[in-house]
């Protein structure tokens, strides 16, 4: 126990956070990356109001809202998985994890439908400033979802409590970031 405590303390201030210190570094870094991108989005929206008004009007509130709910529910499942695992209910934990993965996959399906619809209308990444940022931000986020699904699968297989905590922490981060992306890109329109 003492050795563990010492080991933990060696991360400095980060040791005071619940879970793996590296994952918190990652969470903070990702918040900064997406934060900068979203600030850039808002700034461009100010500089090119017409392009952004048209672009945002072309997005579907409800698909975005549905996806938000998918991710929230998925995050809840992931939290329940950790809870089950901490009581040594391994099978139950895997079921919850599977549920988290299902909702994550549903998110991706909706995303793909949305993108292909936009692309079929000729709105590709080079179309205008709005769509460049739209694809960059949602694409980079979706890449995290794909990565997150892979991580969920990995920690479902090697399912120590420690692994589960670290893996789901990544998943919650992906959720967290979407909760900021969604209102900024989909909902903050018409001003």
């Amino acid at each position: 126990m003492n050795a563990k405590l010492k080991d933990n303390a060696e991360w400095g201030a980060l040791s005071a956070l619940p879970g793996n210190p590296m994952i918190w570094i990652l969470i903070i870094s990702e918040l900064v990356v997406f934060g900068l991108a979203l600030i850039g989005f808002m700034a461009m929206r100010f500089l090119k109001p017409e392009i952004f008004a048209t672009g945002q009007a072309a997005l579907d509130y409800w698909l975005g809202g549905l996806n938000t709910m998918f991710l929230i529910t998925s995050g809840w499942c992931a939290a329940r998985a950790v809870h089950a695992r901490s009581r040594d209910q391994r099978q139950k934990a895997r079921l919850w994890l599977g549920g988290a993965g299902m909702f994550g996959a549903a998110f991706l399906v909706v995303k793909l439908v949305e993108w292909s619809e936009k692309l079929s209308q000729g709105h590709d990444i080079a179309f205008d400033a709005f769509f460049t940022l739209f694809y960059l931000i949602t694409g980079f986020h979706a890449a995290h979802v794909v990565m997150g699904l892979a991580i969920l699968a990995i920690v479902g297989w090697w399912d120590s409590l420690e692994n589960l905590k670290t893996g789901t922490a990544f998943w919650h981060m992906v959720d967290l970031i979407w909760l900021i992306i969604f209102p900024v890109i989909y909902l903050a329109r018409g001003l």
């Binding site: 080991d7 060696e10 991360w11 590296m22 570094i25 990652l26 870094s29 900064v32 990356v33 900068l36 991108a37 850039g40 990444i125 080079a126 460049t132 940022l133 694809y135 960059l136």
Partner: protein
């Protein structure tokens, strides 16, 4: 030094130091041509000097990395090197290739992509040399103890070899050419070289501060994670104006703005370790170079890089003396100082010199660092003026250059100081110190 085979590092250290002097000498020559344009213009045109200057730098840094690896890996793997003989053959082959390239340059035998001017057969020889090296060190690590430091170092060295392969690809489409040219240049200096840098620094910290390996290795992973997470997509800052899609301006700006963080982490790491270690290592000079390395890399690569990395700013500063300022400070801080730190640490151990010219070495540190810093300031001012006159006012390139004469004279002066400092460093490492100097150095250390 615990293993006999670590001695092969001496070949590489010596070769690297010789090329270091040549590199700085050619730098001074170029600095002179800039202010006295007719100097040597018939005999040795600027473009030839430039390729000697940059190629000598790259080759001696790589040679230094090889030496660092040959010194570090047996000690980490806790066994002798797989083959000492192979390491010596590899050295002579590499030195021969480098010398042949330089002599060839003087006779106008070269190719024409920046930094990759080596003729094809020399590029292929470099690949062979790299394979010999990788085989040798990988076998040593595979048979011995595996540590985080050796795995990160190996990843960096393998990455150097893999990305060098892109130097063989030269399409007729200039846009594609440039895109993949950066796979060598950027993914080296802002990618895999940084892995080498972080792992060698981690090794030096373990050896000199006595802090637990566990702590150092966690820091190592943190630093290199930040490095590659920002650095890989940070390549985007080279894809702004070369014919690539506009979205790179966003990617490059955001990720390369964050490239400051790994360098900042390295500063915190080295200073914290030295502060925490509390053990007073006798090799003060090596400690000074290690701390200097992280600090100068932070300013050169981190701060000076950030200054012109955002696309709207880079739109004006791209390809001006601002870039030259950043390049000089970054290479010096990150890679020159890293190599000298390792040489300063390892050479007295290999040569079994208890007292050596530490004071002289530290003089070398301050004079060289002062020179490079002053050069950076001179070039930064030149770059800012150039940006304004040429990119905002639209003045003609040569007219603008004439306005910058004063800065170029200052830069030449700084360059001469760097040459003096370099000679001091080499002297201090090559020539044995006396007992008397050791005593005065102890006094100096106490006064500090």
């Amino acid at each position: 030094m615990k293993y006999e085979s670590q001695k092969v590092a001496m070949y590489y250290f010596a070769g690297a130091l010789a090329l270091f002097v040549a590199q700085v000498l050619f730098g001074v020559l170029m600095g002179t041509v800039v202010v006295v344009p007719n100097f040597l213009s018939e005999l040795l045109p600027f473009n030839i000097m430039r390729m000697v200057h940059t190629n000598a730098l790259i080759v001696w840094l790589l040679m230094g990395f090889f030496g660092c690896a040959y010194y570090l890996i047996p000690e980490e793997a806790e066994r002798e090197l797989h083959s000492t003989k192979l390491a010596i053959i590899q050295f002579w082959l590499f030195l021969f290739g480098a010398a042949a390239a330089v002599v060839g340059y003087l006779f106008r035998i070269h190719e024409g992509r920046e930094f990759l001017e080596q003729p094809l057969w020399i590029k292929l020889a470099i690949v062979v040399v790299a394979l010999m090296f990788l085989y040798n060190v990988s076998m040593t690590v595979l048979k011995g103890r595996k540590t985080a430091i050796t795995s990160v170092l190996l990843l960096g060295l393998w990455g150097i070899a893999v990305f060098f392969l892109f130097s063989l690809y030269n399409p007729s489409n200039l846009v594609l050419d440039k895109m993949f040219w950066w796979w060598v240049v950027h993914l080296w200096v802002e990618g895999v070289w940084e892995l080498v840098m972080a792992s060698v620094l981690a090794f030096l910290m373990i050896k000199m501060t006595g802090v637990d390996r566990e702590v150092v290795e966690k820091w190592l992973y943190l630093i290199i994670a930040l490095t590659l997470f920002t650095g890989i997509l940070g390549t985007g800052h080279h894809y702004y104006w070369i014919g690539t899609p506009g979205y790179w301006q966003w990617i490059g700006s955001i990720f390369s703005a964050l490239e400051v963080f790994p360098f900042f982490a390295m500063v915190i790491f080295t200073f914290y370790m030295v502060w925490k270690g509390g053990r007073t290592h006798p090799n003060k000079a090596a400690l000074l170079w290690s701390l200097g390395c992280s600090a100068f890399a932070f300013f050169g690569a981190g701060v000076w890089g950030f200054m012109h990395t955002l696309a709207p700013i880079n739109y004006y500063t791209h390809g001006t003396q601002v870039t030259a300022a950043h390049g000089h400070l970054a290479f010096y801080g990150a890679y020159v100082m890293l190599n000298i730190a390792m040489f300063t640490y390892a050479m007295p151990n290999i040569l079994k010199r208890e007292p050596y010219n530490q004071v002289l070495n530290m003089w070398g540190f301050w004079i060289t660092s002062g020179g490079v810093a002053f050069m950076t300031f001179a070039l930064t001012f030149a770059g800012v003026v150039q940006t304004h006159l040429q990119r905002v006012m639209g003045m003609n390139f040569m007219e603008v250059q004439e306005q910058l004469g004063l800065f170029y004279w200052l830069r030449l002066g700084a360059g001469v100081a760097v040459l003096v400092g370099t000679i001091l460093i080499v002297w201090s490492l090559a020539v044995p110190g006396s007992r008397q100097k050791a005593a005065s150095q102890a006094g100096l250390a106490a006064a500090e």
